[in-house]
Symmetry: C2
Subunit: 156 residues, 2 copies
């Protein structure tokens, strides 16, 4: 049993998003989070390259299950350059999702820690995110505390 669990753990590789991840179910995974229509290969590549231009200022990470070749978790962080806090930087975590078939393996925690570590290594004084009250205990386990409220204005 222990051996089998290790085998599962060993097959879950965390790394940055690659352009070939579209074929590995990346868009289908995002669909578990919010509205996400099918995206053409061309449009995916275009958006991938737009984000890649920001280099380490916009990092999307994924966990691939190398046994199935499927992306089973993802999240992103971008680095905002400010004038406040002595020209400080803030990390913004967005779009964290774990595949429904891969829950209970702490993959969400691995994603959030990877993104927070990235923000820290980029010199951010803080990293922030918005979530539902329901997900608050999860983020508290990741070392976050509730601060303010999120306001939104939709254009569509």
């Amino acid at each position: 049993m222990m051996q089998s669990e290790n085998a599962v753990e060993d097959s879950l590789h965390i790394r940055k998003l690659e352009v070939t991840d579209k074929e590995k179910g990346f868009i289908e995974l995002l669909r578990q989070l919010t509205v996400c229509d099918s995206v053409s290969d061309e449009k995916f590549k275009e958006r991938f390259e737009e984000i890649a231009k920001y280099g380490d200022d916009h990092c999307i990470c994924v966990i691939e299950d190398v046994r199935s070749g499927k992306i089973v978790a993802t999240g992103s962080v971008f680095i905002e350059k400010k004038f406040v806090r002595n020209c400080g930087k803030a990390g913004h975590i967005e779009d964290v999702v774990v595949d429904s078939s891969a829950r209970g393996m702490q993959l969400g925690k691995r994603i959030v820690e990877y993104l927070a570590d990235h923000a820290h290594s980029m010199g951010c004084y803080k990293v922030i995110l918005d979530c539902t009250e329901e997900n608050r205990p999860f983020y508290e386990k990741c070392g976050f505390k509730k601060k303010e409220i999120q306001m939104v204005k939709y254009f569509v």
Copy 2:
């Protein structure tokens, strides 16, 4: 009296941040919002240029009172490129502040509307921000609704 009020209104110009705004009290204004140490001219210029590289993807707006030559309000918005929402974009409003001597003139509303309009014109499907419960009625007047909660992790 009416003439005098118009004169005040006419002297409040809204525009994008310029590198010369440091001399016009931009940093002192930010200090009314949060921790903001004095910034050397060199460091200010460096950060200004780093942000300018993002072009319209990171817009800082200010209101200058041209009578006094002082910056009396500011706010920023940056455009996050996503894969969700059919490769959509989200605007993030940050660091909105109005000088304590210039409150009650709807300058905050002008700033927020300018930033939301910018996000809309950039093709964002939404614009979001975090604020205190105390500031919620102000943002509701600007057309925002409460959605989620903000979580934060500080590194310093």
